[in-house]
């Protein structure tokens, strides 16, 4: 069971073990982060965490090792992600304490889980009632002391986002750890889930004041509208369109500014080389190879990522994603899949490696395999920025006044819809041939809407996700930039080596309606998709430098000088959507599935789809020309 110790270095003083158990989406990861200071991903939907993660903290000189578990409805059941939980719980030794997290607004379910845990008697337990802020808003009052007496375990009410509450929780654990860990009542006999729930119902009825139903009524009305036949799907598309538009419009200004800044700085930095006793080609590698690639990625790729990621996280935190899955489920049902695949695709939109991990929420091995294979159809953030640049240059540019963001937005939106359609088509084929399986249960939890914490969400998703991804891209791009510059500048038989290699790929490229340089750029960007465009630009501008290619207008001239037409641009975008997954994703796929067959399929399937679509576009453009 791949458990990662998120913070290393465990010295063997007194170490106490804690586990975080609870229904899905009750804030386990939020509590985990608050206690350990780590950054497990959180989100308002069930199944955000799919693997156990460990972290540690020290309180009063005692070290605590805390394990964050995926959400579960039952301690020992054997369903997909829940088997991680039962596995962990089996090994939870006596002498450990499990924090059973519960949602104050759905206390009954938490109490039922606590009852099951007590029956199983696997160490001490504390019932932590989270979301006390929301419960207070709803007018729910809980008698913690009474609840504790009835359950026979300590009960504490917290709001995971409040630092003071986390301190209180830590103090309570520290003070009573030994007592709690030793206090395992074994008298209770094993009951059925039904009996347990009834008992939980009785207990909560005694301890919880009758909640006011008004709040729920408002949320229900929103849900009824967002899932109605007339409004549901258009609203989803408008939301996505709005985010895309904000991304495209918003990214323009910082992009422009950054590329000007880097262009301005370059001569000064280059001048420093004159003072250093280095051969000229070193300056070429560093300035025209590494510097240009790296700054290009920062200027062109970073702004759209830094806008799209946080906005999307806000939707996620509000609880919108499961509603999308709910609305589209019928399409997935037709392909023999569960609507939960939609959630894995949404995560793929951020990063395909994360999406592939998320496929654990799929019911059954076969659906999971199909979801893994098709995940890379969704453009990850790196490829997303390529699509945005290309559609701004070629599609926005061809329509008068269209460059303002609206036309490129429609173009990217259409491409995402195409990705979704391809996912359905390919999933349908796979589930009818290689991965036949009709026995799976569909059950999708719809969490309550929650007001996202805008500032915090923006900060966290910007720092922990966007910068990390860009950091990885830069790490890869620096050496690649140097290598490509060398290939472009070392001549052999009258032409740069790069040109020779791309000539080799030219027949394939021409066949697909693009050129050899484009194919080569995709091959070289296997380590990280973000570097596709910089590689391409550098190979086009060959011996020169790609200075101020950050400007979209210059970029367009570079492409057009190399024979790009609208067909080339469209096919380049199609290939961006459908080619092999990046190296990180491929490694994750193998790690997650341990199957070479699935790995191979994940590699080949998008390639095939990309080739078919490119040929289709090329042939239709030829046909159009014949007709006109």
């Amino acid at each position: 069971m791949g458990i990662k110790l998120l913070k290393q270095k465990t010295d063997c003083r007194q170490v106490r073990r804690l586990y975080l158990l609870g229904n899905p989406n009750v804030g386990k990861s939020t509590v985990f982060n608050a206690m350990t200071g780590l950054k497990q991903h959180t989100g308002n939907w069930s199944g955000k965490t799919v693997d156990a993660a460990m972290g540690k903290y020290t309180y009063n000189g005692t070290e605590y090792i805390l394990t964050d578990l995926p959400g579960t409805h039952s301690v020992l059941s054997g369903f997909s992600e829940e088997s991680v939980v039962s596995g962990e719980m089996e090994s939870a030794a006596r002498g450990s304490v499990t924090l059973i997290l519960a949602d104050a607004s759905a206390l009954k379910r938490g109490v039922a889980l606590a009852l099951e845990f007590i029956e199983e008697a696997r160490g001490g337990a504390v019932l932590c009632i989270n979301f006390c802020d929301i419960a207070a808003e709803k007018g729910i009052e809980i008698d913690f002391r009474r609840l504790s007496a009835l359950l026979g375990i300590p009960v504490i009410g917290i709001t995971a986002k409040r630092g003071a509450d986390i301190k209180r929780l830590k103090a309570m654990i520290d003070g009573e750890f030994e007592k709690i860990a030793a206090d395992i009542s074994c008298e209770t006999e094993i009951t059925s889930p039904g009996a347990r729930l009834k008992k939980a119902d009785k207990i909560t009825e005694e301890c919880v004041s009758v909640p006011i139903r008004e709040k729920r009524g408002a949320a229900l009305k929103i849900d009824k509208i967002l899932t109605s036949a007339a409004v549901g799907i258009p609203v989803m598309i408008i939301f996505l369109g709005a985010i895309l538009w904000l991304t495209i419009r918003g990214a323009n200004y910082p992009s422009e500014l950054l590329s000007r800044l880097f262009g301005f700085l370059k001569p000064y930095i280059a001048a420093m080389f004159d003072y250093l006793p280095l051969p000229r080609f070193i300056q070429g590698i560093v300035m025209d190879g590494v510097y240009d690639t790296v700054t290009w990625i920062i200027a062109v790729m970073l702004p759209p990522m830094a806008i799209f990621f946080p906005l999307f996280t806000l939707l996620e935190d509000a609880g919108f994603l499961p509603r999308i899955a709910f609305n589209l489920d019928k399409c997935y049902a037709r392909c023999g899949m569960s609507g939960k695949q939609c959630l894995t695709q949404c995560m793929g939109l951020g990063c395909n490696a994360v999406g592939v991990c998320g496929c654990r929420i799929m019911p059954g091995e076969k659906q999971r395999a199909v979801a893994v294979i098709t995940n890379s159809f969704m453009p990850c953030n790196g490829r997303f920025a390529i699509l945005i640049s290309l559609s701004a240059i070629f599609v926005g540019g061809t329509v008068p006044g269209g460059a303002g963001g609206f036309v490129p937005m429609l173009c990217v939106l259409a491409l995402i819809c195409l990705s979704a359609a391809a996912t359905w088509a390919v999933s349908g084929i796979l589930t009818k041939t290689l991965f036949k399986d009709n026995t799976q249960t569909f059950a999708l939890e719809l969490p309550e809407y929650r007001r996202p914490e805008i500032i915090k969400t923006l900060g966290v998703s910007l720092v922990s996700r966007t910068l990390r991804i860009v950091g990885r891209a830069l790490l890869v791009s620096a050496p690649t930039g140097a290598a490509v510059w060398l290939l472009a500048n070392i001549t052999f038989g009258g032409a740069p080596i790069l040109t020779h290699i791309s000539h080799f790929f030219d027949p394939l490229g021409r066949f697909l309606g693009v050129d050899g340089f484009i194919i080569l750029a995709f091959i070289l960007s296997l380590p990280a998709n973000e570097i596709t465009l910089p590689i391409l630009i550098m190979s086009y501008t060959a011996a020169g430098s790609m200075a101020d290619a950050g400007n979209l207008e210059t970029l367009r001239r570079v492409f057009e000088a190399n024979g790009w037409t609208i067909v080339t641009a469209v096919n380049m975008m199609l290939l961006t959507l459908f080619h092999w997954p990046c190296a990180t994703t491929l490694m994750t796929i193998y790690h997650e599935t341990k199957s070479r067959c699935i790995l191979a399929l994940s590699f080949i399937t998008p390639c095939l789809v990309g080739m078919i679509l490119c040929l289709f576009v090329k042939c239709s453009s030829i046909l159009l020309k014949l007709i006109v």
Binding site: H73, S74, S77, F79, S105, A106, L107, K108, R109, A112, S192, P193, G194, L197, K198, D201, L220, D223, K224, T227, S228, A229, G232, I233, F326, N327, D329, K330, C331, A333, G339, T439, T441, F442, A443, L444, E445, L446, P447, E448
Partner: protein, 89 residues
């Protein structure tokens, strides 16, 4: 249990939106699906209300036990047997 002759048992997917019912059990047809449904909380005695359907009409969201919303497809919901009997015998 006392008024067996009066209470009709029918599958959950036939319950209209916003109507309330009480779960009697899971039908035997469910086979392997039963375990997940039971773990989710579809156990005898629970109140259940269909609250809204998706645009295509198929999965329907059910409010279970007054505090937990979960969407099921017709194929799942028809395995859950309910009755309009009052809650709490």
């Amino acid at each position: 249990m006392e008024t067996e002759q009066k209470n009709v048992v029918f599958p959950l997917n036939r319950l209209p939106i916003d109507a309330q019912a009480v779960i009697c059990g899971i039908s035997e047809k469910a086979g392997g699906k039963a375990e997940l449904l039971i773990n989710m909380g579809f156990v005898p005695g629970e109140r259940v209300t269909p609250v809204f359907s998706s645009p295509a009409g198929d999965p329907t969201a059910y409010l279970l036990g007054g505090c937990f919303t979960v969407a099921l497809r017709h194929a799942e919901a028809e395995n859950i047997l309910v009755t309009e009997e009052r809650y709490g015998n």
